[in-house]
Amino acid sequence: MSALTALTLRTMSGTLRDADLLFAVLAPVGCFLGFTLALGNLIDTGRMTYPQYVLPVVLVQAMLFGAMTTADRAARDRLSGFGVRLRTLPIPVVTPLAARMLYCLIRAVVALVAGTAVASMFGFRMAGGLGYAVLFVTIVLAFAMAVCLGADALGSRIGSVESSSQLLLIPQLVLVLLSTGIAPAESFPAWLGPFVRYQPVSQVTETLRGLASGHFTGVGLAVTAAWCIALLALFGCLALRMQRRMR
């Protein structure tokens, strides 16, 4: 068994115990039901049904939740001395990071499947066909990887298990609730419009929504791809640097 497999399995057995994988299923399901049942009749989304409208942001939020727990795991690995122990082994320095990221990818797939399944029960449909669906999944997973890398870097840096995920709670909340993912930009006060329209969560969810209903603009897709690639590159570099720092 390679070091990567062994460390990924270690992370997985840990998250089966602390129920993070169960949380990966429950968070998108709960958020979807909450948004749909509580806000569905309150928010005007035009011709689109609310489940169709809101699922992308539910998925994005599930990915952000995943990033929060990643921050905790990275901090725990760093603090418990386990990380130090791993550095004495004849394996590449990036292997522990790669194992955590591989787990994040698995977790993201689990959350994606759970969220989409519950939304289908409320009438969410992938109207665009297979090509669009593949692009949809790719964007969700790329976004998940980007935010997980960022959270991993933060968790490795911050050096306190409990405060790292708390630190991410507020930015997470601001980005998700003040986006066009939950309500169209017209629902917000006019002065907030530019922020709501152009922040990354809005851009990503809008593209995802377009892909799900079978139409999108090239500009939107390019902006989303740019956000994902830029965040991946930035956070990837940071996360790698954090691995090197204490050697």
Binding site: D18, A19, F23, L26, G30, L33, G34, F35, L37, A38, L39, N41, L42, I43, D44, E162, S163, Q166, L169, I170, L173, V174, L177, L178, I182, A183, S187, F188, P189, L192
Partner: protein, 273 residues
């Protein structure tokens, strides 16, 4: 100390009411000072509800005004005060297992104190913290446009109403947090409380929920408190929601107090690992 100290089970303790009052206040003061430096309690009791208030106001302010004709602040400020109370209590509950494992609970238990003062002190601290964050949130609400129809006299009961439910929830959280598997259980309880966050009458009026969900939305522990506070701010009669909120608080205390007392004692007597 010497005259009024009884000795049973090998541990001296006090019975007088003055000692009870003084030691409860001391314990409450200790907890409040501790919470002030605890990032989890600070975030969950104050920062999180404040952000929620501002963000929800921006998100659904227009829609609620269109559907109900009244400002969404009258539901959101109460909701966020209750959210601060419940999530602050949960944050404090997360800190309790650490106090047990470090031996602090045991260390305090072997002092010649009134036996009830540990628990009442904790509940007192929860009550003070809840009222404190309600004051901050109400100030924020007033800055955003909340007004008391019957004058500022209603502001005092307004910030004291969430204390009731806070004491009820705190009793339940203590009963759960002092168990050996306390930390995991409180985390799960927190996940459950997130559901209450969506399904209450503060964000949206009960009528916009699907009809099968409306009874649950109206009766869940947060909603009566929210309605009572809304009534106080708008100058409407509040007796019935206040009564419901009281029933929730008394019910929670009645159900969980025996377990909390027993669990706290067990934790203090065996806790230190």
């Amino acid at each position: 100390m010497t005259t009024n100290t009884a000795v049973t089970e090998g541990l001296p303790y006090q019975r007088s009411l003055t000692a009870f009052a003084r030691q409860s206040t001391l314990e409450a003061g200790r907890l409040l000072r501790r919470w002030r430096r605890d990032p989890i309690v600070a975030v969950q009791a104050l920062l999180f509800p404040t952000f929620l208030l501002v963000i929800y106001k921006l998100l659904i302010g227009k829609a609620v005004l269109a559907v109900t004709g009244s400002d969404s602040l009258y539901g959101l400020v109460p909701m966020c005060a209750v959210v601060g109370a419940i999530f602050g209590t949960l944050g404090a509950g997360l800190a309790l297992p650490a106090e047990r494992e470090s031996g602090l609970l045991t260390r305090l238990w072997v002092q010649p104190i009134h036996r009830a003062s540990s628990l009442t002190g904790r509940l007192l601290a929860e009550a003070v913290r809840t009222a404190g964050s309600a004051v901050v949130l109400t100030a924020f609400g007033v800055a955003l446009g909340l007004r008391f129809a019957d004058g500022w006299a209603a502001a005092l009961p307004f910030v004291l109403v969430p204390v009731m439910i806070s004491v009820g929830v705190a009793t339940a959280v203590i009963a759960i947090a002092v168990r050996a598997d306390g930390r995991a259980m409180v985390t799960w309880l927190g996940a459950g409380c997130v559901a209450l966050l969506f399904f209450n009458t503060g964000v949206a009026p009960a009528e916009v929920f699907p009809s099968w969900l409306q009874p649950a939305v109206r009766l869940q522990p947060m909603s009566p408190t929210i309605e009572a506070m809304r009534g106080l701010a708008e100058g409407r009669p509040v007796l019935w929601p206040l009564l419901q909120a009281g029933i929730w608080a008394v019910g929670l205390v009645a159900v969980f107090a025996p377990a909390a007392v027993r669990g706290y004692r067990t934790a203090a007597e065996t806790g230190c690992r």
